[in-house]
Symmetry: C2
């Protein structure tokens, strides 16, 4: 379920901008903040979230922290989307096949019986 953190992290536009700032290579916090319309502490907070999602990692170099993209979070996210993608393709295939099978059958009654009505449970909260 690690992809959840990555998706949450990348949902915010500013945080995505922080992430994109590291796209072309490592940067310090100050460098990242200098290119964005938010304060440096805001960038620090975003970097913490990104780090928690394994999307970035940091190394201390003197008094400055150098952040870089961590491929782990990206790999997790790509893996999730890939599995979803293949599942969807499989579902499409199965659906098309079922439809083709139904078209070649005599249809027991022309009545509009689409689908067995699922058991309905009361939903309140």
């Amino acid at each position: 379920m690690a992809y959840a953190e990555a998706l949450t992290a990348l949902a915010d536009p500013t945080r995505r901008a922080v992430f994109e700032a590291l796209r072309s290579g490592p940067r310090t916090v100050g460098e990242i903040a200098a290119g964005l319309p938010v304060s440096r502490p805001a960038v620090s907070q975003h970097l913490r979230v990104l780090e928690g999602a394994q999307l970035v990692s940091a190394r201390q170099h003197g008094t400055r922290r150098i952040y870089r993209v961590d491929r782990a979070g990206l790999a997790i996210l790509r893996g999730y989307l890939d599995s979803f993608w293949s599942d969807v393709l499989e579902a499409f295939r199965a659906e098309a096949e079922a439809q083709a099978r139904a078209a070649s059958e005599p249809a027991p009654k022309p009545s509009r019986a689409r689908r067995a009505a699922p058991k309905r449970t009361r939903r309140t909260r």
Copy 2:
């Protein structure tokens, strides 16, 4: 920039659950809501957001609306991550090469001059 909407849409856990409910095939709004701890209107609102992100699409069938995964949004998202991934790999390669070049040089002075200090602009908002 369409990937932004997709990321925003998939950031919410409930909305992700709605999306996942369509992973194995088309479903009606009521069916989706029956499997989730939220009300049916909530599911409707989530589906609207997902539709705006091109992650799902709907077809009317009598009185019910059948939602299914739209591959467009997924493709956009995967494309964004893929391009980011390759950029990151390229940045890593360039960095490793620069580091290897620096290691084989005489190093003009053992002083700790790491990097040219970037122009500092006041940042407040």
